[in-house]
Symmetry: C2
Subunit: 295 residues, 2 copies
């Protein structure tokens, strides 16, 4: 007899890149008997049905969460408060509620107080993604070999945390439990600052007078190209990330611009040893990433 | 009867990523009867022979250029003046001398005056590369679908420019003729600034106290990873790029930091519309790059 799925009914609130990838992975690993989906737009709901991402589709989030033993919020963080208020009265007793947002302190602050006591709130963040968005962009392997970070507030039921961790492991991820504030600092540097810089330089380039857009595109293979890929990520999602992780991002940005100013001075004064020393040192961390199979 | 090769004897001065890739591509397309090579280190010379990158190997650059009808300098730009002085008396009359350096005004300034009048000096820059270095890292397809920029000073023999352009086309590139000063501005923004920023952020990250190196490596797939690839590029080559294109790099850096400061202010004051507007605008240029097949 086939093993019982990990969850009976999973509700996906939001069916973009992460939601649709979760659907593919959950189906492939047979982790749920039923996937209920909610999306705000009719277009996404139609697409989700067409792509068989869901077993039931709901125009209201409340309808999707009814009877679900796992609810995963996969929408931009600015929508969390409204979604929390809408679904709270309809959550099943003992259900696990998680999310996939890239900032965790603000999620705990904004969503936590709205939830009833009989629900296990385990905020999460799969450190995985592509520059593509929407229900068509998902694929089952997105989480393979990546990390999923869980940031349960103190006192969270351990069995609930472990059950959610098991879901992430089954879709191919390694799980790390982390304090939410530390998560936000780590991600500020590994993800948020790189995205901010990429968005910024692509913006700078489009404003130039002397160099045309078509020249930039032509010769982009020499470095710029990689920044444009990052800067093609979902605008709403990233707007929300920066606003929700404001302090940590500004702190990291301050360190970065300090270093950039020093580097500019090295160039202006022709301090070749200092440039070479930095450029040699930065090679090491690349090796670490290759060794850790995250390249 | 087989077509006569484009060149009788090509001399590669420097056999790193670009030199070895040129060797592979020239052999594959049968563009030279003989490839003579020079490298400064015994290790590289041995490797070049072992990998059959050259038909003759020379410990002195002067020996390699003797009788060559095409000389391609593929070393870091800080070596150009010494190489120019060493090879100048040995260059064949009517030979074409080119290079692959990433800055062109400084090359014309430093190398041009050293060369005899009977040589055609056509500075060049293949806009192609990887983060790997050394004679083992080359491959014939490196230039395929990329651009090669030539920046002949006013008055350069047109037949020589055309013959060199033909070499680049035969190894798979499209050729663009450009004024050297304009080249340096275009590359400052498409290549030099992105590399500088990547080196800088990787440096910033390695200096952090609160977030460990192993955490950065673990969670690098969320954006940081792409910067580390760029920041793993050859340290000497890049040191030379920044020192040789100082003015244009500092000018672009000034624009970038201005924009970054404005963006930081948007985040601090929660100006979500401005963030979203920028993040939406930056998606367009990505589409242009994909359409131009440079993605």
């Amino acid at each position: 007899m086939a093993e019982k799925p990990l969850f009976e009914r999973v509700a996906l609130i939001g069916i973009g890149l992460i939601g649709s990838s979760l659907s593919h992975a959950i189906r492939k690993q047979r982790l749920a008997q039923h996937i209920a989906g909610h999306a705000q737009s009719q277009r996404t709901r139609d697409k989700a049905v067409e792509l068989k991402l869901v077993d039931s589709i709901h125009a209201d989030a409340a309808g999707a969460v009814k009877g679900a033993d796992l609810v995963i919020i996969c929408t931009p963080m600015s929508t969390y408060a409204a979604i929390g208020a809408a679904i709270a009265p309809h959550l099943k007793s003992g259900a696990i509620l998680t999310d996939v947002g890239s900032v965790k302190q603000s999620v705990i602050r904004d969503l936590g107080p709205l939830l009833p006591d009989h629900v296990h709130f385990v905020p999460g963040h799969p450190v995985a993604g592509t520059e593509h968005s929407g229900p068509e962009s998902g694929f089952a392997e997105l989480f393979q070999g990546r990390w999923a970070i869980l940031t349960p507030p103190p006192g969270t039921d351990e069995a609930a945390v472990e059950k959610l961790a098991e879901l992430w492991r089954r879709v191919g991820s390694q799980v790390e439990i982390m304090e939410a504030g530390h998560h936000d600092k780590v991600l500020a540097i590994t993800s948020h600052l790189p995205h901010l810089i990429a968005y910024c330089i692509v913006g700078t380039v489009t404003d130039l007078e002397e160099v045309t857009k078509s020249e930039v595109i032509k010769f982009s293979a020499s470095g710029f190209r990689d920044f444009t890929r990052i800067a093609a990520s979902d605008p709403i999602m990233w707007r929300d990330v920066f606003l929700n992780n404001r302090e940590a991002v500004i702190e990291m940005l301050g360190r970065f611009t300090e270093d950039l100013t020093a580097l500019q001075r090295n160039i202006r004064w022709g301090e070749s040893d200092k440039l070479q020393e930095l450029f040699t040192r930065t090679r090491d961390i690349r090796r670490g990433i290759i060794d850790a199979k995250q390249a």
